[in-house]
């Protein structure tokens, strides 16, 4: 997982206490199947040296599905388990120190609770930030909610990937998306559900549907071309969606497989898939011989 191409939509975080009696790996696998496209191991209770087995199992799982794996708090554990990066809290080590420990290739994310903290995180070189808690949350007892207002501020200002987090459920996901979030993180709503796969699928669908809505009514024609990597080459395009890009290359009626940032896009989603600057797109002819 390279830092440059890193992005996601639905962030799942472990919380073993939310699913007593059920295997952590099984629960997380269900979340991934449902559409979680980044996974974090978070366990504040257990000392890191006892988390290695779990971290390795999650690494194996996420590798199999090709999703990034992030370790909360512990850069050493992240290295040991070959995770893709770490997630830091405001009270943890500074980003610069984590970067020194982890090297240039690893992803570093950080929780922020105000727009000031978000700006600081961007300055310090975070690869993504958590924005929240949007709502009071059982996984972070005692922390006052930063609220939807902070989500709106982040939407207006923050250019690096940021994810709304804290108390997000199927009941309130829409208003978080309304406030401008493009990525959601859910903890207990996913892993505490009897059907984590279904919850993930529904959350992912809401995010994707919202993106499609933005694709339809946004993107003013005045906006200049965006740069992206198409089949390994840097290219500029004024196409706004994957479907438009494919059409412009005369490939709409050909049997091709289209992939954006590591995931194949079903044909029915082509016209709803927004192209983002820096995205890696591959269009490959289907191989039919045998």
């Amino acid at each position: 997982m390279s830092r440059a191409a890193f992005d996601f939509r639905l962030y799942a975080i472990t919380a073993e206490s939310c699913h007593p009696g059920r295997d952590l790996i099984e629960v997380m696998e269900a979340a991934i199947r449902g559409g979680a496209d980044i996974v974090q191991l978070r366990d504040k209770e257990t000392p890191p040296e006892r988390l290695l087995g779990q971290a390795r199992a999650l690494r194996e799982l996420t590798r199999r599905y090709g999703v990034p794996f992030i370790v909360n708090d512990y850069p050493e554990l992240a290295l040991e388990a070959e995770a893709d990066g770490v997630h830091l809290g405001q009270e943890d080590m500074p980003i610069a120190e984590a970067r020194r420990l982890l090297g240039e290739d690893k992803i570093i994310g950080i929780s922020t609770h105000s727009i000031e903290q978000a700006r600081e995180a961007v300055r310090a070189g975070a690869d993504y930030i958590g924005v929240g808690p949007v709502y009071p949350t059982p996984t972070k007892p005692g922390r006052p909610a930063a609220g939807l207002e902070y989500v709106r501020q982040a939407a207006a200002e923050i250019a690096i990937p940021w994810v709304a987090i804290g108390g997000i459920t199927l009941d309130n996901a829409d208003e978080v998306l309304d406030a401008g979030a493009r990525r959601l993180c859910a903890v207990s709503a996913i892993v505490g559900s009897p059907d984590p796969e279904a919850v993930s699928r529904e959350l992912k669908a809401r995010i994707t549907a919202r993106e499609a809505g933005h694709a339809a009514d946004a993107a003013p024609p005045a906006e200049g071309p965006i740069r992206l990597r198409l089949n390994g080459r840097d290219t500029e395009t004024t196409a706004r969606t994957l479907g438009e890009l494919i059409e412009r290359h005369g490939l709409k009626d050909r049997r091709i497989v289209a992939e954006v940032d590591g995931e194949i896009v079903a044909r029915s989603e082509w016209s709803r898939t927004l192209l983002k600057a820096g995205a890696a797109v591959e269009l490959v002819h289907f191989r039919g011989g045998g």
């Binding site: 696998e29 995931e263 989603e269 591959e282 289907f286």
Partner: protein, 420 residues
């Protein structure tokens, strides 16, 4: 039978005539080793010891393999390689279906076949089955010389635990993907052209179906085929190996180890890419409403039932009509092959046709499954027994093929010809 063609070419031990003869063959065999539910005995433990020693398989995995059943669609380069992997691994029941016959141009990459198979113009399914039985006599092999169509696809797939893709065209793959998602059977796609190939395990309830990924029937023809772009054997083996590995995981019960990605690889130039597979599309009638695979191994009875239904259907259509009557002829241009496949709604009287062709001075090759006639003007007719199916080679289009066949049958082409 007055003239047993099987005896004539020294293939009497194989199926005589009909495509569903594997039942007879199995019954005639000394060792009925592939009984459903049988557990690995000591001989098996020795034979499969190296893969049993591989920890993720172990004795339990081997037991499951011996009880497993798979369908391999296509017995060309990919199909033959897949079949060999499955047979050597000890998959208890292997069903193979293919519509084609062995030609010299296959030998460069289709590893189960040899020059004798090409000389005899043996159907690939039959030639493959013969080789596989020599590789492993302890498993059941069922061969079907047939075109996979919407009429027989479900019966072929019913009751197997996996469908392995060894086809050479998108249309058949889409059909099999549809059937697999309806029946709750994973479809292990693989394809290769030139020096590049792709493979992915499409699992009902977990991943999108092939239709969602590559588009449906309305999309343009395949970009390139082995006949137009060529193909080198290493890429075929690579893709078959990718498919076979996932098959072993699934059949040994190690479903959690399944690779959830689409691999696109090229050997020349060297390149390897791997992408996540999207989940089922909610709006798709195929994968959005797929039946998830059964929790554990499927009862063999269901495989038997599917097979029996198929046998009944094949038998019903096996009696050749006394004289060919006018009827619709379906024509399909086999992609990039200079071959047109014609399908009539009834089987053809092979003996009469052979007589006629000999009188015309054609060079005839015959075996239990088909006759091949080379005409003086460079055309070749391959007429399958019991099928109403003819491959015409050396013609430029479907119309010419139909004309050729109707002349052959003294049958004016009264009906409309549907070219698909």
């Amino acid at each position: 039978m007055a003239d047993d063609p099987a005896k004539e070419c020294g293939m009497a031990e194989h199926i005589a005539g009909l495509t569903n003869g594997s039942e007879q063959t199995a019954a005639g065999r000394q060792k009925e080793t592939a009984e459903p539910g049988r557990s690995a005995d000591r001989t098996d433990m020795e034979r499969y010891s190296r893969q049993i020693r591989f920890a993720p398989i172990g004795p339990e995995g081997q037991r499951r393999l011996l009880e497993a059943s798979v369908l391999i669609v296509g017995a060309g380069a990919l199909g033959a390689s897949l079949a060999q992997h499955m047979a050597r691994a000890g998959v208890g029941r292997i069903r193979i279906v293919d519509r084609d016959f062995v030609e010299p141009s296959n030998l460069q990459r289709q590893t189960l076949f040899d020059e004798e198979d090409a000389r005899l113009a043996l159907p690939k399914a039959a030639a493959a089955a013969a080789k596989l039985r020599r590789i492993n006599s302890g498993i059941a092999i069922e061969e079907h010389v047939a075109d996979v169509t919407s009429a027989n696809a479900a019966a072929l797939a019913e009751g197997v635990q996996l469908v392995l893709d060894g086809t050479d065209n998108a249309a058949t793959r889409l059909l099999m993907s549809d059937v697999c998602f309806a029946l709750g059977i994973p479809f292990l796609y693989g394809g290769a052209v030139g020096a590049s190939g792709m493979s992915a395990a499409l699992v009902p309830g977990e991943t999108a179906c092939l239709r969602c990924l590559i588009g449906g029937d309305q999309e343009a023809a395949d970009a390139g085929t082995c006949e137009t772009e060529g193909v080198i054997s290493p890429i075929v083996e690579l893709v078959a190996a990718l498919q076979a590995a996932e098959a072993l995981k699934w059949l040994t019960g190690r479903r959690e180890s399944l690779r959830r990605t689409w691999i696109s690889a090229s050997l020349w130039p060297s390149e390897w890419r791997e992408w996540r597979l999207p989940g089922p599309s909610r709006d798709c009638a195929v994968c959005g409403r797929a039946k998830p695979p059964a929790e554990s191994g499927l009862p063999m009875e269901r495989a038997e039932a599917g097979l029996k239904r198929l046998a009944v259907r094949e038998e019903a259509s096996a009696a050749p009509s006394p004289r060919p009557t006018a009827g619709p002829i379906r024509a399909a241009v086999l992609c990039g092959r200079d071959t047109v496949q014609l399908t009539l709604d009834h089987p053809l009287p092979l003996e009469r046709i052979e007589e006629r062709l000999r009188a015309d001075g054609c060079i005839i090759t015959r075996n239990p499954w088909l006759i091949r006639a080379e005409t003086g003007d460079g055309r070749r007719f391959v007429v399958f027994r019991g099928e109403g199916r003819v491959l015409v080679q050396g013609v430029s289009d479907a119309e010419e093929a139909v004309r050729g066949l109707t002349e052959l049958l003294h049958q004016p082409n009264e009906e409309g010809v549907t070219v698909r």
